[in-house]
Symmetry: C2
Subunit: 209 residues, 2 copies
């Protein structure tokens, strides 16, 4: 009964890992091509040639499947440059992030995932586990290294810096009252590092050092 060529329609015969990869590919295609609303168990099962029961067994919601699919698709873009110059590294990384968000289907896909996550706890958990938390950890590691090198102040909460860079981009993606561009990314980094206060004024109640 074992077939030599991989049977395209032989449900239940393909190794689970292969079926899983096919489902994730199908979900990614629907997410990037038509948006988060197209990622339903019905449509993914049809596109992947898998049974809906398999999908129900593996994912708690279609949203959770969409999040894992997107993560699998974007995993290769996770690396964070480390040249030893935090301004240059943050600028490179933020510009690449803005290119990703504005260059094709990824921006609407991420916006759709975050959007549905607001009312789908399964998707919210998957988005955090597979996408946002690991990315936040990489950014935190980069700014901690920079602080160890003396390029960032000792007395600030580095998590805030991460929000003021990536969060600012998400703000323009999700509430598009102002444009999101690569020049914006560069200016974001400069603003966060240099501060909005004129350099010749001292912060109130503190000594500049």
């Amino acid at each position: 009964m074992v077939e030599v060529t991989p049977p395209r329609r032989g449900r239940g015969r393909r190794p689970a890992a292969e079926v899983r990869a096919g489902v994730l590919r199908a979900a990614t295609g629907l997410l990037l091509g038509e948006g988060i609303k197209a990622v339903t168990f019905d449509r993914v099962a049809a596109a992947a040639g898998s049974s809906k029961m398999t999908l129900y067994k593996w994912w708690p919601s279609a949203g959770a499947l969409a999040a894992e699919a997107y993560f699998t698709h974007s995993e290769q873009q996770l690396e964070f440059p480390d040249t030893g110059d935090i301004r240059a590294d943050l600028t490179t990384q933020l510009r690449a992030f803005v290119r990703l968000l504005t260059g094709g289907g990824a921006g609407p896909a991420i916006a759709g995932l975050i959007g549905v996550a607001q009312t789908d706890p399964e998707l919210s958990a998957a988005f955090s586990r597979y996408y946002s938390a690991p990315r936040r950890a990489l950014a935190m590691a980069a700014v901690h290294r920079a602080r160890d090198r003396g390029q960032l102040r000792d007395d600030i909460d580095l998590g805030i810096l991460v929000d003021q860079l990536w969060g600012a981009c998400y703000h323009r993606l999700l509430i598009p009252d102002a444009p999101l561009t690569e020049e914006y990314a560069t200016a974001l980094v400069d603003n966060a590092l240099d501060g909005a206060r004129p350099r010749d004024t001292a912060p109130p109640g503190r000594h500049s050092h």
Copy 2:
């Protein structure tokens, strides 16, 4: 045929403004009490004692109705303090914003509105028109006044500063990988004004002034 006491069930007899106000109150109640998914034309019409046809006539989508309802509810919180000290005013405003987002139903309501806005263009437009754009304009006016007073640098894009304050809060609301607190709001303002770079290091390729 004209009745003297306002008929609670006399559909079509109440003045349009009164019906409209009742619908918005009902939508706000559902949004704050049960979340964005509860704001459907069916449920709002039932709660307001209005006809669904009226709602269809006045709002292009239930999402657009939810956005206008939320705006009407939160309008009184629009004022922006102007004491002449931008650090104090931003801190007051941001802490109040965080209190609003974390103190009750408003945070989930705003998160739900932004969430649905990602796939509902009518809601997205209403959210911008009634809520986010006017608030952004108030924040922009405040930072422009501060720049005119010499409290902010001449050479930065003030729209970025707004994203690095409010956008950072939205980031923690919508992608809750880190906590959103009033202390966070204070630290956000200090970070944005003072910058993350040690004060004794000069920005590359520029003169500090």
